[in-house]
């Protein structure tokens, strides 16, 4: 039993030792725990030199001793099975036209002819484009923007033609504040309002394959371009535009002030004219004018006026005689007696006797007789004329002018006012005939005139 256990123990120990030996893979390749140190990465650049392609590989661990290490690629090659890499410092590369560009290749690290580590890779999936170049920024004053243009060698290539570009720009004082813009063309427009005025900017661009077949990694950044944004001061407006804006502002202000000042007097009556109120108009017409109203029964106030007393009978005869000469003999005595008014003027002495003053009816416009001349004006005018007898005297002859004209004349320029001081002038419409009509017409015209003049004064 003891011997047996010892034998088993020895066997197990040997097994453990044997299995503890690092890596004896089935395929015979030597694989050990140091494989991770030889991990590498590769990228390809197609048509980098005419029609030649470039495949570059490097160890991910920079501390790897690559003195005797070699790289080899096999598969997906034209006319040959495998190609060996060349070494440049710590980078291994192969430059050839013989890439099939379809299918996977196997890249192996060799040490002394033996493969240390291998990796399957599709060359078209690890394409690194060439860096863009010739980046320029042009400022357009009329458009207030910056046009960024750059060039890339892939525009003339056959395989990797479609790229995605990334433009990065920043204000130089903000070190890590990069702005990124992606585009598929080689032209970009930056608006001026999105940039700080009077500032220095740095801009650069890089590319990556953008096709459905070729894939890869970002290219190197292009050389940076520096540009300064112009000063955008508000005062640098167009002078003509400035003048126009100032003038228009002042014009508007002036119009507003004038509108406020002239609103009630000028603008509102035109824009919103007041309709005449008949009741008010009538009241205005028939109310006593307060101005120049001097009603007095004191004889001393009429000292300036020439008052002639009239002998009733004589005056009546003379009036009859006078009236017969001028009017048709239809005039009644009653009518004649009612003729009255301001007997003025030395030109008509006889008539002074004819006309008798009558009661003053200025207060009641309703007292006007129908069919006769409206004498509502008479008391008004008479009252207005009372303090001014001299003027009334001058207009004395005009009193009878209407009567005289009534006989035959049709055109008559009637005075706008009655020269009568007081009394009612009533005429028989039958007697008057034409004179009445003209008189009526004149008084009507006078009434209309008065109305319109009053309306205008309103």
């Amino acid at each position: 039993m003891t011997i047996l256990s010892i034998a088993f123990g020895t066997v197990f120990y040997l097994l453990q030792v044997v299995s503890g030996e690092s890596g004896y893979a089935q395929n015979g390749d030597f694989e050990d725990a140091e494989l991770d140190d030889y991990s590498f990465s590769c990228y390809s650049q197609l048509e980098v030199d005419g029609s030649q392609h470039l495949l570059s590989c490097a160890f991910e661990d920079p501390d790897v001793n690559s003195t005797n290490l070699e790289f080899e690629i096999c598969g997906a090659l034209l006319e040959v099975n495998c190609l060996n890499f060349s070494k440049l410092q710590e980078t291994y590369f192969v430059k050839t036209k013989k890439f099939l560009l379809i299918g996977d290749s196997k890249i192996c690290v060799k040490l002394g002819g033996k493969h240390i580590t291998c990796r399957k890779m599709n060359i078209v999936k690890r394409v690194k484009p060439e860096a863009p170049f010739d980046i320029r920024v042009i400022y357009r004053e009329e458009a207030n923007d910056f046009v960024v243009t750059f060039n890339t060698s892939h525009l003339q290539k056959k395989y990797v033609k479609d790229l995605m570009h990334e433009v990065a720009y920043r204000q130089e004082k903000n070190e890590n504040d990069w702005m990124h813009v992606n585009l598929s063309s080689t032209k970009l427009t930056l608006l001026q309002r999105k940039l700080q005025p009077d500032a220095m900017y740095e801009i650069k661009v890089r590319s990556i394959p953008n096709t459905n077949y070729f894939e890869g990694i970002w290219s190197e950044w292009s050389p940076s371009f520096h540009f300064r944004t112009p000063e955008t001061t508000i005062g640098e407006m167009d002078p003509v535009l400035l003048i126009i804006s100032i003038v228009s502002f002042f014009s508007v202000a002036l119009m507003v002030i004038l509108a406020c000042v002239l609103w009630k007097k000028r603008i509102k009556p035109i824009v919103w004219p007041s309709l005449p109120d008949h009741k008010k108009t009538l009241e205005q017409l028939c109310k006593k004018p307060k101005k120049n109203l001097n009603v007095s029964f004191n004889p001393e106030s009429f000292l300036d006026c020439q008052i002639h007393k009239v002998d009733g009978i004589q005056a009546k005869d003379e009036a009859e005689g006078f009236l017969q000469d001028t009017f048709p003999p239809q005039l009644d005595d009653s009518e004649k007696q009612r003729l009255g008014g301001g007997v003025q003027g030395h030109n008509w002495p006889s008539q002074h006797e004819v006309i008798t003053p009558k009661t003053f009816r200025g207060d009641s416009p309703l007292g006007c007789l129908a069919g006769n001349v409206s004498v509502c004006d008479a008391p008004v005018l008479a009252s207005s004329r009372s303090p001014d007898c001299r003027e009334g005297g001058k207009n004395g002859p005009q009193v009878y002018q209407g009567l005289l004209l009534g006989t035959g004349t049709t055109n008559s320029t009637l005075p706008p006012s009655f020269p009568f001081q007081s009394g009612i002038l009533t005429l028989n419409p039958a007697v008057q005939g034409q004179p009445l009509l003209t008189y009526l017409g004149s008084s009507q015209e006078e009434a209309y005139v008065t109305m319109s003049s009053f309306y205008q004064n309103q």
């Binding site: 034209l78 078209v124 459905n212």
Partner: protein
Amino acid sequence: MFHVSFRYIFGIPPLILVLLPVASSDCDIEGKDGKEYQNVLMISIDELLDSMIEIDSNCLNNESNFFKKHSCDDNKEPMFLYRAARKLKQFLKMNISEDFNLHLSRVSQGTLKLLNCTIKVKGRKPPSLGEAQPTKNLEENKSLKEHKKQNDLCFLKILLQKIKTCWNKILRDAKEH
């Protein structure tokens, strides 16, 4: 009763064996989405055709036997491409230029890689291209050589055009389905 069973035993299996190659294809087309063809093969085919632009497409006096035997008919596209791709290899010997040979190899090898065919074709001696007969004198050999070269280039041009047409047909059918 025996003759009936004989009919089934000796009649039907040979029939099946004969019909199977027609119905099934030994090639599995991998690039039916057209990415490899449009981004790689088509570029090389166009480069080759551009280099032979001076050759007229009607240069062949009589239709080649190859095209009589093989055509891009329905359900026969992979086989045609397979045979055409193998045929292209014969023209590598012409050594027109390095780039020419590389594009030719890319079209041939790329097509075969995408077809992934399992057909085993019997090896037979490929027909000679442009070999002069030693019995004739040098000048006649040269002219014959030149004439054959032109014929070969003409055949190559037509072959490339038919390969392009057949690929387009495969991709069109793949999109429709």
